[in-house]
Every structure is written in C-alpha cells, then in structure tokens.
Amino acid sequence: MVLAHRMALESPLVEAEAIEATEFRELVGRHNVSGVPQTTINHGARDVVGAVPEHYLVAEIEKALKKESGS
C-alpha cells in the first residue's frame, strides 16, 4: 500500500492522493514533479522525491507543518 494511504487510514486529518503522472500532465507541471515517485506535501510546502522510508516522510511532514505555521 502506498505509504501516504496508510497514513490517511490512520488519521482523519490526512488525505492522500495517488496520481498517475502520465495522465495528469498539467498537474505534474504545476507541482514541478522532477522524478517519480514524488510526494507533494500540503500543495507544495515540501516535495519529497523518491520512495522514502516511513520516518523520513514523517520528518518531512513535520517540516512542512512548521514552515506553514512560521515557527
């Protein structure tokens, strides 16, 4: 299962979309997808390229949330 989907299953605050990049070119362009898989957190607050381990994605989500709250 996609890691992001596992997180969505566990938390009502997490929503996760698996997007087939070749079918949604415009979206790929808008989010500057440079390699796949790419995980775009909160519409571009952070981008994670590559298949990353669980703890890494958690750390990136934390960074994205910190960046948004400005702290």
Binding site: M7, L9, V14, A16, E20, E23, T39, T40, E54
Partner: protein
C-alpha cells in the same frame, strides 16, 4: 470488451482477498465530458470488485454529481475513493487514486483494498504517535508512473 485480468491473476487476487474482514467500497468518479481512460478504469474495477463479496463499486459522474464529488474532494477524472463499509455508511479515510490503476498501481490498489478492509495500516508506533498528535490537516499527493 475483453477482460483485463486473466484467470491466473484473478486466482491470485482472490487468494489475497480471502484475508479481508470489513466491506470496502470503491467510489469511482468519471466524467462524460472529458475522460480518456474512464471506460477502461470502470472495466478494471468491475473485474476487481467481482473477486470478493466484501467489495462494492459505485460509479458516479463528476459533473452530474458535483455535490457528491466535492464531498469527497474529487476534482479530476478518473478519480477513485477507497471507502470503508458500503451503501449509506461509507467511511471516508481520505484515500484517493487518480488515473487508471494499472501497472504497478494495480498491486497498490489490491493492497489498499485489503489494508482498508482489515483496518491495519502496519505503520510503526512512532508514526502512529505522530499522526495521533496532528492538529492541522495534511494533504499528500503522490505522483507515480505505471512502470
């Protein structure tokens, strides 16, 4: 239309689905206006959901059922929501797919259906603690290619 899944694959998937516990519904959102891959996605999902009594497929239209689509935050077609339960009692976990779930995405979909049915994410204790402590929404878009 000829099926996507051959008998040997159907057999494998049936075996995986034997471990399912709770019903799971796939809400499919297509668009009559513009959707190159909707027909084949419906065909594929019809074949997959036929492989277990615990699976159901609902076919909806993004434009004609815009209220339902926005309730599930679906804004593109083909769009899929993997929900828990069935009928009037569908639980939205926030699990979406956009595009034909073929190639490597097919395995991910089968796995998703099983995981949602069992309600077991398999995430580590640390991750679960982190998720339980979330106070703001987290939106994740995972771009991939069907290789």
């Amino acid at each position: 239309m000829e099926g996507f899944l051959d008998n040997s694959l159907k057999k494998q998937v049936r075996l995986v689905f034997e471990d399912m516990k709770e019903p799971v519904t796939i809400l499919f959102f297509g668009s009559a206006a513009q959707c190159e891959y909707c027909e084949e996605t419906i065909q594929l999902l019809t074949e997959v959901t036929a492989l277990s009594d615990l699976l159901a497929l609902e076919v909806h239209d993004l434009d004609e059922e815009s209220e339902l689509a926005s309730r599930y935050h679906v804004d593109k077609a083909p769009g899929l929501v993997i929900g828990g339960g069935r009928g009037e009692e569908i639980i939205d976990f926030g699990i979406r797919y956009y595009g034909v779930p073929a190639g490597s995405e097919f395995g991910a979909l089968i796995n998703d259906l099983l995981t949602v049915s069992k309600r077991e994410s398999g995430l580590s204790e640390e991750t679960l603690v982190f998720l339980a402590g979330l106070k703001e929404p987290v939106h994740l878009m995972v771009f991939s290619t069907p290789t």
